[in-house]
């Protein structure tokens, strides 16, 4: 008797399927459309082949971190091996297209095609303009692969969006453990389980206060990085120079969490509050 294959068992798209998949995202790039992604090719053996070496993907992830964690678990520690596997990542992306290709109103609204189509290893190494981490499925899974639960603050926003904080941390290549812990401590609301301050700050005139966004905190971190090793510094050192006027609500959140012992993943308990 043939065992039924779960629809959440990862598969690899064939060349023909990849063409169809690419065509959809190129054709509908930055459009709001009534045309759904080509779901009909998802489970058809003519368009994809099962990858039984992996575990089951999460059925209905409700957040970016749930998705990222679930994919990493399904890959069974083999992320590095399949990092550039376009057939596999395209299939996983189509599997979750229902979650990542919609706009706030629930309409199909693909953003730039490179946010869904993985570049080949050649393209990635050849073209310095490709930012692979911006891929809506691969990017969160990659950050989770590198930092696990310590990355939760950057993976707690809308699944359809990359997130300003995530973009800033990756763009400046400062995703070290203390930096992620400091972001978690400041911006992650432990009780509500959601991130605050993940917005694009408006342009400022000289002398104006910053708005206290994650992106502005990353700028601050880069300054501290000239004097302190971003791999060895305490997360508290990273936040101690922030001003109340600019980061007040987030500093209060950090103090509250420190007082309650609600620390980011891997952070050593400390006696002094920020």
């Amino acid at each position: 008797m043939q065992r039924e294959i779960s629809p959440f068992q990862p598969r690899r798209m064939t060349g023909k399927a990849l063409e169809r998949f690419d065509h959809y995202f190129i054709e509908n790039e930055k459009k709001v459309t009534s045309a759904p992604p080509p779901f009909e090719i998802l489970l058809d053996d003519e368009w994809s082949v099962p990858a039984p070496e992996f575990g089951l993907l999460p059925e209905n992830p409700q957040s970016k971190i749930e998705l990222a964690k679930g994919i990493n678990e399904a890959l069974k520690g083999r992320f590095d091996e399949v990092m550039h596997d376009i057939g596999l990542w395209s299939w996983i992306t189509l599997r979750y297209a229902d979650k990542v290709v919609r706009n706030a109103g629930g309409k199909w609204a693909p953003s730039s095609d490179v946010n869904y189509r993985l570049a080949s290893e050649h393209e990635l190494y050849k073209d310095s303009g490709i930012h692979q981490y911006r891929h809506r499925v691969w990017g969160p899974a990659y950050l989770y692969h590198l930092h696990g639960e310590a990355s939760r603050a950057l993976l707690s926003n809308d699944m359809t969006k990359l997130g300003e904080g995530f973009d800033a941390v990756m763009w400046y290549n400062v995703a070290t453990r203390p930096v992620l812990q400091a972001i978690d401590l400041l911006f992650f609301d432990g009780e509500a389980g959601k991130v605050e301050g993940d917005f694009r700050p408006p342009a400022r005139r000289p002398g104006e206060f910053r708005k206290g966004s994650i992106r502005e905190f990353v700028e601050h971190v880069r300054q501290v990085g000239y004097a302190y090793s971003l791999h060895r510094v305490s997360p508290l050192k990273l936040i101690e120079g922030l001003s109340e006027q600019e980061f007040g609500p987030y500093l209060r959140n950090a103090r509250k969490r420190l007082a309650n012992g609600n620390l980011p993943e891997g952070m050593v308990p400390v006696e002094t509050a920020a």
Partner: protein, 277 residues
């Protein structure tokens, strides 16, 4: 508020480690696993505390990934004669888009000293990137090789191998004969084989080789170079001639040749030519 406090300054100026004092190389083990070797040279009297922590930070700017490898205290490094244990890498690094920082810090994470950002050598003996911007070609020397220089197609990328009678590797880029005649003939060998051979050579380094060759031949892409070689008028030799000619006309090569020609001894009044005359 007209100013903003960033951090408490605990040290006024960190020490800079000279590029010549640290050598970082990427190698590949027999099992195909990439690793880094880091060697400190002439730093026995470097003025940092013996218990300072030494870290090697690898900034992979292709994948926007920053990793750090704790080596131990400066004392342990000095005791090991300046050689660090090989650092295993999860994946091969792009020589041009990787920054390696060797950092000394105290127990609070304050940076005491660091390198300004090291460039990665891509194989055993280094590459030609410093001179000709060709980081995709690996240069190496093989004592048992009888040819002065030859171009080789390896699955990972192009290799130029110098023989027993060639100058030492580092001296080659200052050798007029090697730059003017050896290098072009090795490139000729590589490009000819690349056009004639059907081998599937699909790596980033081969991509860069093909794209450089196309640029030297004033073609849009590699396919055009191959097309040239199948034209009756040019043929394989003609197409390769165009690549090599373009290489020799490239700005960096021209400049290097002019500089070397000034210093070279071509048999002037004190040389053999005069004696012969």
């Amino acid at each position: 508020m007209r100013f903003r406090s960033i951090a408490n300054v605990t040290l006024f100026g960190k020490l800079e480690i000279g590029d010549g004092n640290v050598r970082v190389e990427q190698k590949v083990s027999e099992r195909g696993m990439p690793y880094l070797t880091v060697t400190f040279v002439g730093m026995e009297d470097f003025p940092v505390s013996l218990d300072a922590s030494v870290d090697v930070i690898v900034k992979n700017n292709v994948l926007n990934e920053q990793t750090h490898h704790t080596v131990g205290s400066w004392e342990t490094v000095l005791k090991a004669g300046g050689d660090l244990k090989p650092i295993r890498l999860a994946r091969e690094l792009h020589p041009g888009r990787t920054e390696i920082i060797v950092q000394f810090s105290d127990e609070n994470g304050v940076i005491l000293a660091e390198t300004s950002g090291l460039r990665l050598s891509s194989d055993e003996d280094g590459d030609a990137g410093e001179g000709g911007g060709m980081s995709f070609i690996v240069f190496r020397r093989k004592e048992e090789q009888v040819f002065p220089i030859r171009g080789i197609l390896e699955p990972e990328g192009p290799v130029i191998e110098l023989g027993a009678y060639s100058p030492p590797l580092k001296a080659c880029e200052k050798d007029f004969g090697i730059v003017a005649f050896g290098l072009p003939s090795a490139i000729r060998q590589i490009v000819t084989s690349l056009i004639a051979d059907d081998a599937v050579l699909e790596t980033p380094r081969w991509d860069m080789m093909r794209s450089a060759a196309a640029k030297w031949a004033r073609c849009d892409d590699w396919k055009d170079v191959v097309d040239l070689s199948s034209q009756d008028r040019l043929g394989l030799n003609g197409a390769v001639d165009r690549v090599v000619e373009g290489f020799l006309k490239a700005g960096e090569v021209q400049k290097r040749l002019k500089d070397l020609a000034k210093d070279a001894d071509f048999g002037n009044e004190e040389g053999e030519c005069k004696d012969a005359a």
